[in-house]
Amino acid sequence: MSAGMDRRSFLKLSLAATATVGMAGEVFATTSGQSYVSGGPAPAHVEPEQWVYSTCGFCGTGCGIEIGVKEGKPVAVRGTKGYPVNDGLLCAKGIYQWQSILASDRGRHPLVRKDGKMVQATWDEALNTMTGKFKDLIAKYGPDSIACYNTGQLAMEEFYVLGKLMRAGIGTANLDGNTRMCMASAVVGHNRSFGTDGPVGAYADIEEADVIMISGSNMAECHPILFGRVVKARAAKGTKVICIDPRMTQVSRIADIYLPIKPGSDVVLLNAMAHVVIAQGLVDRTYVDAHTSGYDALVKHLEKYTPEYAADICGVPAATIVEAALMYAKAERSLSMWVMGINQSINGTQANNAFHNLNLLQGKIGKPGCGSFSITGQPAAMAAREVGGSSTYPGYRAIANAQHREQVAALWGVDPKKLPDKSPAITEILDAAIEGKIKALWVICTNPLMSLPDQNRVRKALEKLELLVVQDAYETADTAQMAHIYLPATMWAEKSGIMVNSERRMNLLKPAVKPPGETRSDFDIIVDVARRMGYGELFPFKNTAEAFEEIKKMTKGRPNDYTGVTYERIEANKGLQWPVKDAASTGTPRLYTDGQFNTPDKKAVLWAMDPVPLPEVPSEKHPFMLNTGRVQEHYHTGTKTRKVPQLNKLVPTAYVELNPRDAERLGIEYGDQVRLTNDRGSITVKAVITAMIAPGSCFVPMHFSEGPVNALTVWAVDKFSKEPNFKQQAVQISKA
């Protein structure tokens, strides 16, 4: 390859690559007013007066943090030393997150739209307007005319009161969370394979494993703390890494085997790996016979999934598939980890089940260093799943299960008939809004205009609403700008409650700093709304701790049993992994250690599956496969991280990653403005030329409202989980 390359183009490339470090303009803008000159060589370090125990407000890794406070204001964040997840370390987002609390666009007062303009209002006015409209709509069109779309970033207690208000109070089925965007396929995958939701393993398995297979996850950027543990384990004991990803990342760099599969071909690959495991006699028959069902059907089904068959579809050599399968299966302890590359797909649920299949076949569930690990994306997405914040009832009770609804109704003291028996996904809710069936939407702590697929469709739905209430920390959030009522909420550092991370570790939020203006915690707002709606008797809580006492009753005897948890115990133990059945328990690192699953027959289910075709493949008109995702400097729609000048300097604006071959063919150079177009929309972003992306593919991060990639994403969902397919769509690319 060196033959065709002269120095000049090498240099050009290396310069371009260097430039990715900071593709900012040259304009200087200093934010810190403080001079570091006066301090001499000892610069302007600020030592906090006090460090307050808390949990990181970003991803689902769930790092323990301490918030440094000086004069009532946040001045620093550091990792909690000795915390089992991160032991004092933090990623760049985590380090800077105190700045997002101080952002100038924090909402301070409720706003109500009058004559098209948002004007300041009192809480009474805003909440009475909101609940008055809710009541009118319920009277006129029934409770299902009201919908709520929330998040994975509230505290557990807030999810709980919200779920209770929407289902037991208002009685609407239309409650969903943005957890649908990330975790739904994992949830349904767990449900289908193990009987209930809940990640099986613990982060400690990273150090225990001999082989770690990381799939559809740019863990190095999106869960850096976990990837740091992988890299350290690899250096310390030679842990092998297998990477499955159509896009090259730091995970693929360190991988011993890298499978650059074609986008969306993961189920086929995993089926083929299971085929190899069976064909090579690596199945743990004792475990399979004792603890699983569906083995014979699976064996028969997998006959056609030979490595050669998969090689064709996945675009990787059959020998590499066999090699990976054998490396994984022959290791005593092997661990699968995956995130959105798997989940955000039309085959997301099936791919989850395919991982579970692979591990169940070898009994690699519930053992140290083994297992299926779907990492979560948000700090409290797990909490939402566990206590009925979106598509479940508290205690991992299923919406469609009448027995579960009766249990919940009894605990809440309401008529079981009132409790909805279905739970539409946000895509269905918005389609119903377009049809005019849903009249009011209450959006809490999320930014659907930016984060949902097919932005134009979302905008149309939001415009159709009679009432859009947005409850958020930032009044400038894209969705908030469309709201009729804006309610300013406090942020994670300003309130108390529990968050739960990917390894089921419950950790505490403590109010560290004073919230700005008249902001109120989501808990207070939700309970206030409930009281104004006339459901006050359901919410006898003075604070989140009292609500948590009720949650504990809801989960007693359930898989996510919190009976032995108190705020004090969480802090003392540096987080507790549920189930915590009594006050003596220090938590449960791994589920299903006894092979007893939560299915009726206590057996895990092996699923025989064929993937469905992708909703969209490149065509002559739209020749590029568009992938979406995140970068390490930003989080989701950037409402928090883009307020941090240091992070924004590193990655200041939207860009598309293009392979050098494609770029050359299209006459596009590094830094050019390029237009990405398909039938749903068009965006103009900067070009970043990199060989980390496959020819014919492109990648755009989701954080930037000036180049919203979700204007292009396809409105297609997994049929089981209703999780949208964000990772594969066809676009056309041209120089702008």
Partner: protein, 208 residues
């Protein structure tokens, strides 16, 4: 000199997460434009065997610091006890000559403050027996700090050269490196080049 302290950067372990950069910048409250530690990214090869590696660099606390030699106002000093090169912004007049004499782009000029500043190796922390912030915050153990002579005992590889890293003979930097396991090696140069140009290759069928 009794001792020379310096950083060691293991490019195999470095994942380019920039935590070192952030920890430094946050600890010292630097504006976004001034990054005492910078993670540089280099890319080579072709999909799917391309390689992107990272080089985390701050001040190299050179044995023969060109910044110090050229500084007209004596804002630089090199500590006798550990060889750390300290820049005092209060003495600096902002002539920016050190931003030229340093081949590594370490001293950075801030037009707002009118002075240059650079990594001082967290010398106050080092004096207290602590690690520099960047080393302390490294997620993967890619960064370490200590007596240059002692790296050999602790690191997989200790070389003075890194891809693109300006000729160490200029100032004799104290930073040492371990190269990525894949790709180029310090003793055996491998091609670092972008994909061979074949502009007419059909985009869809490549590299899979």
């Amino acid at each position: 000199m009794s001792e020379q302290k310096g950083f060691h950067a293991d490019m195999e372990k470095c994942i380019g997460c920039k935590c070192c950069e952030a920890a430094c910048q946050d600890f010292y409250r630097m504006p976004p434009e001034i990054r005492w530690r910078k993670v540089r990214s280099f890319e080579m090869g072709e999909f799917p065997t391309a390689l992107r590696v990272h080089l985390s660099l701050a001040c190299n606390h050179c044995e023969d610091p060109a910044c110090m030699k050229g500084c007209p106002v004596e804002a630089y000093t090199k500590r006798g006890k550990d060889g750390l090169v300290i820049h005092d912004p209060t003495a600096c007049i902002g002539c920016q000559y050190c931003t030229w004499t340093c081949p590594y782009g370490v001293p950075q000029f801030d037009p707002v403050q009118g002075v240059v500043s650079k990594c001082n190796g967290c010398y106050q922390r080092v004096d207290e027996g602590l690690m520099p912030r960047c080393v302390e915050s490294c997620l993967t153990g890619a960064l370490s700090f200590g007596n240059v002579d002692l790296h050999a005992a602790e690191q997989r590889q200790v070389v003075t050269e890194a891809p693109g890293f300006p000729d160490p003979s200029i100032t004799r930097p104290s930073t040492r490196f371990a190269w990525p396991l894949k790709g180029p090696q310090p003793d055996h140069q491998v091609s670092i080049a972008p994909p061979a140009a074949d502009p007419h290759a059909p985009a869809q069928k490549e590299g899979k």
